[in-house]
C-alpha cells in the first residue's frame, strides 16, 4: 500500500493542474515556440548580444574560441581577468561549464575547489569544440565570460555553486519561479535531479513558499541548515522584468530565464531556455497547466513589459491557487 501510495492517479494530477512532459512538448512548446527562434537561445553568444541590445544585463563576454588551433592561446584571451567561466555556446543543463575562481599558468582552481592542470583545462576547451556538450554533438564554440560576483545574500542557502532563479515566462507573463540551490550531493551543481534543492518562489513577493529535494518537501538546507522558508529574493521586480523581457527579445511564448544576482551589477540573465523543465512545479508544490491556461485565456494581451509586471504584481485574487 505504501508503495502504491507513492503514485498519483492521472485525474488527481489533472485536478492539481500538473503540466506533463508530453503536453509541454506537444501543446505548449510546439504551439508557442517557433522552431526558427531556437537558435537565439541555444547559442549563448547570440543570446548575450540580443540581451545586451535590449538592455538586459548578462555576465560580460571575455571572448570565444571556435577553432582547435586557438585553444592553446586561451590564456592570452583571459589575460587581465582574475577569474573566468568557460561554457559551451550550445550547451544545456549546465553541462560543460567550468568556473575558474583563481589561476596561475599551470594551476586552475574551480568553484568547487578542485585544482586542474593546464592540460586538463585545455582538454576541456577542446572537448567543447568537438561538440561533447552541445546539442546533437555539433562542433561548438567555447565561450569565456566574467565570473559573476555572487551576492552574499544567499550565502547560507547554497553549498558552493551558483544559486540561480529560474522563472518560467509564458506569453510574456512570469508564471512560476524557483530558486535552485546547490548541495554537497549535487557537487555544486544546480540540477534538481542531481540532488540540488529547489525552492518555490512566490511570483508576487519573491519569497519562498515551498522547498524540495529529490521530490520530497524539506524545510532546511541539508548542508548549511539554513531555514529555506526565510529565503527572499531581493530586486524581485527587476528579476521579473528581466525574465519577461525575454519574450520581446526572443519571441518565444514559453521560455525559462535563469537569473543570477551579482553583488555589484544586480540581476543578470545567465541563459534563456526554450524547453524549460517541469521540476519547477514540484519546487512550488503547484501545477503549471492551470496557470498557463489562465495566462492564455484571461490575461490582457499586447501590454508592455512594465504593464505586464504591474498586472502580475497587483493581481489580488491569485487564480492559480485555490
Amino acid at each position: 500500500m505504501s508503495w502504491f501510495s507513492k503514485f498519483a492517479f492521472p485525474w488527481q494530477l489533472k485536478k492539481a493542474g500538473v503540466l506533463n512532459m508530453n503536453k509541454r512538448n506537444y501543446t505548449i512548446i510546439a504551439h508557442h515556440n517557433k522552431r526558427n527562434l531556437y537558435p537565439l537561445v541555444d547559442d549563448k553568444v547570440k543570446t548575450k548580444q540580443l540581451a545586451n541590445d535590449i538592455g538586459i544585463q548578462t555576465p560580460r563576454l571575455i571572448g570565444s574560441i571556435s577553432a582547435q588551433y586557438e585553444v592553446k592561446n586561451f590564456l592570452n584571451l583571459v589575460q587581465g581577468y582574475q577569474n573566468f567561466v568557460i561554457k559551451p555556446a550550445h550547451g544545456s543543463g549546465g553541462k560543460g561549464v567550468l568556473v575558474i575562481k583563481k589561476y596561475t599558468q599551470n594551476h586552475f582552481r574551480t568553484a568547487s575547489e578542485r585544482v586542474l592542470r593546464y592540460r586538463e583545462v585545455y582538454q576541456h576547451i577542446s572537448n567543447i569544440l568537438s561538440g561533447l556538450y552541445s546539442l546533437g554533438g555539433r562542433y561548438d564554440t567555447a565561450v569565456f565570460e566574467e565570473m559573476v560576483d555572487f551576492s552574499t545574500e544567499f550565502k547560507n542557502f547554497s553549498y558552493q555553486g551558483v544559486p540561480d532563479v529560474r522563472i518560467i515566462v509564458f506569453e510574456g507573463y512570469p508564471a512560476l519561479a524557483m530558486m535552485r540551490l546547490a548541495t554537497k550531493e549535487s557537487a555544486g551543481r544546480a540540477n534538481l535531479h542531481q540532488g540540488a534543492v529547489g525552492v518555490g518562489i512566490d511570483i508576487q513577493t519573491g519569497k519562498a513558499i515551498a522547498a524540495v529535494q529529490h521530490n520530497q518537501p524539506i524545510s532546511f538546507h541539508p548542508d548549511t541548515g539554513a531555514d529555506l522558508m526565510t529565503l527572499a529574493v531581493p530586486f524581485w521586480r527587476e528579476h521579473l522584468t528581466m525574465a519577461a523581457k525575454g519574450y520581446e527579445m526572443t519571441g518565444l511564448g514559453y521560455l525559462g530565464a535563469d537569473i543570477v544576482l551579482d553583488k555589484e551589477r544586480g540581476p543578470m540573465v545567465l541563459e534563456l531556455n526554450a524547453r524549460p523543465g517541469l521540476a519547477i512545479q514540484i519546487a512550488n508544490q503547484c501545477g503549471l497547466a492551470t496557470i498557463l491556461d489562465n495566462i492564455e485565456h484571461t490575461y490582457p494581451k499586447n501590454l508592455s513589459v512594465d504593464e505586464r509586471i504591474d498586472y502580475i504584481l497587483n493581481k489580488t485574487n491569485k487564480t492559480n491557487e485555490k
Partner: protein
C-alpha cells in the same frame, strides 16, 4: 466542433481506422486466397500423379481422350503436362484430346499432374440442379429381383444408399444378392449395378474414379467410389463402396465423375494405364504463388514482397519486425516514460539479443560495456580529442569482440561468442555516453541509464523474439501501416506518462487524498 474536425489527431484517427480496415480486408484475402497462416511453418502436401498410357496402334489415325482432374473444386492443380511425341494436344475444360497420324510402334504417353488438397472445399460439392435419372435397363426377370433387393436393404441401417451398400457387403450375403450382384471383387461392376438400383429408387447416382493417394503408390486401375445426389441438401454425397461411409477419404483424389473410363483410345488396342503417385511436402507459404494464380490475383502477388528472391525476403523479414520494435520504444518512452540512451539504441540491442539468445546476449552485452568502460576510463586520462577518442572506443569494442569470440570458440563458451552480434558503433556510443554520465553525474546515474536501456531492450526482445509475432509481421505486412498510424497518433498523446504519476505525486494535495477516504 469544427476545430476538433480539423485537428491533427482527428485526421490521424481517420488514417488509423482506414489502415485497420485496409489491413483487415487484405489479411482476410491473404488467408482466404493465398492461404497465409497465422502460425509459422505450416505445410501442405503436394501430390504428383503420373499416368502412363501404353497401347498398340492399329494403323488408323489415333485419337486419345485423357480426362483431367476437375481442379477447381476439391483440390488445386499446381502444374500439369502431357508428354506425347508426335501428337497434337488440344486442351479442353475437363479433358485433353490428343490426335496423331497412324503410328507403327507401340505408343507410350505420359500425363503428369501435381495437385494439392484444398481442404476447405472437400466433400461440399453443391449442385442446385437436380440431375436427370436414366431409367435402369433391367429386363423382366431381373426387375423383381432388383426390387426384392431394395426391400431387403430396408433392414439395414443408414440412408437409402448406405442401406444398399451395407446389404451387399454383408459377410454372409442373402441368396438373392449373390445371384444378382456380380463378383464381389469386381468393385467397378458393383458400383455400376448400384447406380442402376438407386435409379430404381429415383436417386441419381454416379461412379467416380480416382486414386487413393499413398506414398509411392503404383497401380494400373483407378479406385472407385459412389456418389449419390442428396435431394434435401442439393449436393452430391460420396460413399465408400465397402463401408457406406459418407465423405471423400483424406487421401482420395477424384479424377473423373460419371463417364465410363479415364481414357479413351481410338485407333489403338490393348491400352493400359498405369498410375504412380509421389508425395512431397511444401511449406504453405511457398504455395502462395500458385494459390494467388488460381485466385486470379497474379498481379497482386507479383508486386508483393513474397515474390522476391528468398534472400531478399529474409532481409525483409527483419525489416518488417522493426516497426513493431519501434512502436514498443515509443510506448515505453512517451507513455511509460522510461529514459533510455539514444532513441533506438534499446531496439537495436533487442534485435541483437534475438540473434544471441537472452541470457548469453545480456552477459555478452555486460562484457562489452564493462570492459569498454574500464578501457574508456583509462583513455580519458590520455586527454584525447573527442572524435579520435570515440574512434578508439570503437576499435576497442572490435578488439573485445574478437577476443571474446576466439575465447568463446576455443573454450566452447557460447556466451562469449554472442558478442559478435552486437552493433559495434552503438556499443561504442553506449560506452562513451555512460562514461561521460559517470564522470559528470556519478556512477548511479550512469548505471541507471544503462539499466533503463537494457530493460527497454529486454521488453522489446520478448515481443520481437516470438516466432508467431515475427511471422505475422512479415506475412501480413500491411500491419506496418497500422503501426505507422499508431505511432503518429502517439505523437499527439499529451497525457501523463506512467513515471510522471510518481514524479508529480507530491503535488497532489494531501487534503485531497484524505478527503477521498
Amino acid at each position: 466542433m469544427l476545430k476538433k474536425f480539423l485537428s491533427v489527431r482527428f485526421w490521424l484517427t481517420v488514417g488509423l481506422i482506414c489502415s485497420v480496415l485496409f489491413a483487415g480486408w487484405s489479411i482476410y484475402y491473404k488467408v482466404k486466397d493465398w492461404d497465409f497462416n497465422l502460425t509459422p511453418n505450416q505445410t501442405t502436401p503436394v501430390w504428383a500423379i503420373e499416368s502412363h498410357l501404353t497401347f498398340k496402334p492399329t494403323n488408323k489415325p489415333i485419337q486419345i481422350t485423357l480426362y483431367r482432374p476437375d481442379g477447381s473444386r476439391i483440390y488445386k492443380i499446381l502444374d500439369e503436362s502431357v508428354v506425347a511425341k508426335n501428337y497434337t494436344v488440344r486442351e479442353e475444360k475437363d479433358k485433353f484430346i490428343l490426335t496423331a497420324d497412324p503410328q507403327k510402334k507401340d505408343q507410350s504417353i505420359y500425363y503428369r499432374v501435381s495437385v494439392y488438397d484444398n481442404k476447405e472445399s472437400r466433400g461440399k460439392i453443391k449442385d442446385t440442379q437436380v440431375p436427370t435419372i436414366k431409367a435402369p435397363d433391367f429386363d423382366d426377370t431381373l426387375l423383381p429381383i432388383a426390387q426384392q433387393i431394395l426391400t431387403l436393404s430396408e433392414e439395414q441401417s443408414g440412408d437409402s444408399v448406405q442401406k444398399l451398400i451395407r446389404l451387399i457387403n454383408q459377410p454372409m450375403p442373402d441368396e438373392t444378392v449373390i445371384t444378382f450382384m456380380p463378383e464381389r471383387q469386381d468393385i467397378r461392376a458393383t458400383a455400376h449395378v448400384l447406380t442402376k438400383l438407386l435409379a430404381l429408387k429415383q436417386i441419381p447416382a454416379r461412379v467416380i474414379r480416382g486414386i487413393t493417394l499413398e506414398e509411392g503408390k503404383k497401380t494400373s486401375v483407378p479406385d472407385v467410389m459412389l456418389e449419390a445426389y442428396d435431394m434435401q441438401g442439393k449436393r452430391w454425397l460420396t460413399y465408400d463402396l465397402q463401408t457406406g461411409a459418407i465423405g471423400i477419404p483424406e487421401n482420395f483424389i477424384v479424377l473423373q465423375r460419371g463417364g465410363k473410363s479415364l481414357v479413351d483410345v481410338a485407333g489403338g488396342v490393348d491400352s493400359a494405364m498405369k498410375y504412380s503417385v509421389l508425395k512431397s511436402v511444401n511449406s504453405s507459404f511457398g504455395m502462395a504463388k500458385y494459390r494467388a494464380k488460381s485466385a486470379r490475383q497474379e498481379n497482386l502477388f507479383t508486386y508483393s514482397i513474397y515474390n522476391l528472391p528468398i534472400s531478399q525476403q529474409n532481409a525483409l523479414k527483419w525489416l518488417t519486425i522493426f516497426p513493431l520494435a519501434i512502436l514498443i520504444v515509443v510506448v515505453l518512452r512517451n507513455v511509460v516514460g522510461l529514459k533510455t540512451m539514444g532513441t533506438f539504441t534499446p531496439m537495436l540491442i533487442a534485435l541483437a539479443l534475438v540473434q544471441t539468445g537472452l541470457i548469453s546476449g545480456l552477459i555478452g552485452f555486460g562484457l562489452i560495456v564493462g570492459i569498454g568502460l574500464a578501457i574508456r576510463t583509462g583513455l580519458s586520462k590520455l586527454n584525447l580529442l573527442l572524435v579520435p577518442r570515440i574512434s578508439a572506443v570503437v576499435i576497442f569494442v572490435i578488439l573485445i569482440i574478437q577476443v571474446c569470440a576466439v575465447l568463446g570458440y576455443v573454450y566452447d563458451w557460447r556466451v562469449a561468442t554472442s558478442v559478435l552480434f552486437f552493433p559495434i558503433i552503438i556499443m561504442a556510443w553506449i560506452i562513451e555516453r555512460a562514461s561521460i554520465i559517470w564522470e559528470e553525474e556519478g556512477f548511479k546515474n550512469a548505471a541507471k541509464e544503462v539499466i533503463n536501456s537494457v530493460i527497454v531492450a529486454v521488453i522489446t526482445y520478448f515481443i520481437v523474439v516470438n516466432p508467431t509475432i515475427r511471422h505475422i509481421m512479415f506475412v501480413f505486412n500491411e500491419l506496418n501501416v497500422v503501426i505507422l498510424f499508431i505511432v503518429m497518433l502517439l505523437g499527439t498523446y499529451t497525457g501523463y506518462r506512467l513515471t510522471e504519476l510518481k514524479r508529480f505525486a507530491p503535488l497532489v494535495k494531501k487534503t485531497d487524498t484524505n478527503g477521498r477516504k
